[in-house]
Symmetry: C3
Subunit: 316 residues, 3 copies
């Protein structure tokens, strides 16, 4: 693997999942592979799981890790070409990406969307600029429109826990007080399209996601109908896509989308976390036997580790 | 040891101090013990000594260390049970503690008190929530009411420097412009109650500490009388406990509590640091031959190291 | 080497450059030297290159590294002697430096100037206080008036790329919207005075640097004349020195100092970065074949590594 910025970088998903599961059983099998190699993790936004799991993954492979909170530790970056930099940006991404490449063997980047400028967000200007200008491989730790490490952890989790050959997986929207990105939903949809699952997306009318992502996946506006006989229910809020970044006025029909034991039935409850209790999902579901959110979080380590391993094997 | 959140977790203090002193002489004797083990240090507040000494201690044991400033790096945590999380907290401690446990072998936490809500502070809701929900051992790097790593370093220091079998140790209040926690004083008192010392507490009337902490330790309101023939004088400010978190109007009698050479006499001067010069103590004392504050700081490493060692030895 | 706070700490520059180039060819040759040694890097200001290159350098030598952003992670420091610390500073540098020395084998410090108080900046009170009170060697990661790690990287770069025995090197001022320190210019001048180069400084009248730094180096106010036949053009803005820390009203003659392809000719373009594109230098120069800024940044690793190596060899 030359980089991991989106699901398109995966050539053989089943092989990748199999290797991740082997790493989970034997995390230190490749601890010589990353020796004298350095992962520089750049955060433009907050992170808990991604930060800790990716650091652990790199460490399991013997890599050294540097974590930088870019906004507070370094200089404000300019991403536009040809700008006269006489205002508040101090360094251009062209230099920053090339310079960091002098000190890193792999660069991982987290950069959330603006949720105000759709075209800018969809250009993925931060991560794509790193890809363009860095001379080392780039890993996406959640960008404006994609969270491929999360999606791979989700694929590992579903593979581990599936009790039938072709489980029914439902992605359900749930309410949230703030405007959230589409990245997790987008990458989960893309991942389900690569897997042998019976996949349905459900959300209130008006919360349609990008058609280029949804493609021919089934969209069912009736949540109860969508959840019927589900094996896995992946719950996630996203803000409006058409009316970009907006949270539509919450109506009773929206608050009714909160996942309850009754709605979940015998399905497994999945969520990328952090999750707002009693807004997205009830305490009872989260604390119940069908919640697999902690195992999903655990699989973040092996998702990151298999990606870093694959990139390390292709260095030089 | 299964955790170290308070002095109650110590079963054999003399043995612990002896082991710490052995580690001080031979810091790398156990550097295989922590191999492939990760300490995640979570800071909800500032730290210098605790941060650097605990990281060094873990590193001496061969552990990997991750440091997170939780407030700036991650998500705002909810600690209340049953809340509808539709406001400013993004993640519940139930998930956070379980998730971090997926990436850590030991979790260390620093979380200061509010100093405005006595009941909340005394519930030790942050550290006790980590103990309740995490699946790995918890170490207290100073909580609302206790600083047991500091107290253990202090015990090591007194043991090293005592010139008689049962030294006289005095804990003296000193003035400070801001409201400070009771944690250091509480843990020092608890530690002295476990040691074979002649122990006296002295402070102005009105600055009485929690009776459940002081128990039957001697309280002498006359500072001069208390300091007479002392071998060790541990100086520390704390804010009011009854009138919780308040700094009472400073009077001449309060400013007179500043420790001077004359008051100290031939006793050793101890302080946990940071210390305000010429408020808590004069320059002359701090820079003089009887100050042992730097050795106390040095012993923070071996205090943390013996605790981590003891916990590592009990990990499966 | 006992410390590296300024160029005066260099005894044999040619030997140091030669060793740095050997480390560049064989970065892990001394990875046992720093085993069980810890570098504590203290940042009072932002950093990208210095932070990443110094961490990599220390790691190449087998050292453990702790990075602290002092302002946000720790306590506000007092530097004045004899102060009554009843205001906003919580810890005196005397304690802080001695305490950090308990946990570090080498301490590296970045602390920019105020640019408002010339006497205070020139006293180098931060770095000189660390030198005075710490019990371990101090490395300057850019102080109020000096950036000796950058200057050494620059010396390595010029040595590597020079095509003649005595190349012509020009330091040229360039415009910038904000007030910048003199540190990089000062240390570059000092370094050129130690090297066998034909050196010229050029800047608009009124931007004269400290005479104690410039000494008898050639100053040519006509930029075109200065740049004629140059082999290396080092470009850098600095704020006014006489009218301390001020940016004089920008005039046409100032904006004309921006480095262009025409001005540069066949010379190599050098800059310490971060650089403001189309203010300091045109896109065309920075993206062109004569820019060596990325190689300069790469050499920051070996500049730091040779200094740390030299200090480690002199420990104990």
């Amino acid at each position: 693997m030359k980089k991991y910025t989106g699901l398109d970088d995966i050539t053989d998903l089943q092989e990748l999942i199999a290797q991740a599961r082997e790493l989970k059983n034997n995390p230190y099998a490749y601890e010589q592979l990353g020796k004298r190699k350095r992962l520089v993790m750049l955060f433009f936004n907050s992170s808990l799981r991604t930060r800790l799991s990716t650091e652990k993954a790199a460490s399991n492979l013997g890599m050294d890790v540097t974590v930088m909170n870019f906004n507070s530790d370094a200089w404000k970056l300019e991403f536009e070409d040809g700008t006269v930099m006489d205002a508040d940006t101090s360094e251009h991404i062209k230099e920053a990406a090339q310079v960091i490449s002098q000190y890193a063997d792999i660069i991982a980047v987290r950069a959330f969307p603006t949720l105000t400028d759709k075209a800018k967000d969809e250009s993925e200007y931060v991560i794509s600029s790193f890809v363009k200008y860095a001379s080392v491989p780039i890993v996406n730790m959640e960008s404006a429109t994609a969270h491929p490490l999360q999606a791979l952890a989700d694929a590992i989790t579903i593979t581990e826990l599936a009790k039938k050959k072709k489980p029914k997986v439902v992605l359900s929207w749930a309410p949230h007080p703030k405007a959230l990105p589409h990245a997790v939903a987008n990458s989960f949809i893309g991942m389900m399209q690569k897997m042998d699952v019976d996949f349905t997306i459900t959300h209130p009318k008006g919360y349609e996601l990008d058609k280029a992502v949804v493609k021919d996946s089934v969209v069912e506006y009736d949540q109860d109908a969508a959840l019927k006989d589900a094996d896995f229910v992946y719950v996630k809020n996203w803000s409006n896509y058409e009316n970009y970044g907006k949270v539509l006025a919450t109506t009773d029909s929206h608050t009714s989308w909160t996942i309850t034991d009754e709605k979940l039935g015998e399905a497994r409850f999945m969520h990328c976390l952090p999750v707002r209790r009693n807004v997205i999902v009830t305490d009872s579901v989260l604390d119940g036997k069908n919640s697999v959110v902690i195992e999903q979080a655990n699989n973040r380590t092996y998702s990151a580790q298999v990606i870093l391993k694959s990139i390390l094997e292709n260095l030089n």
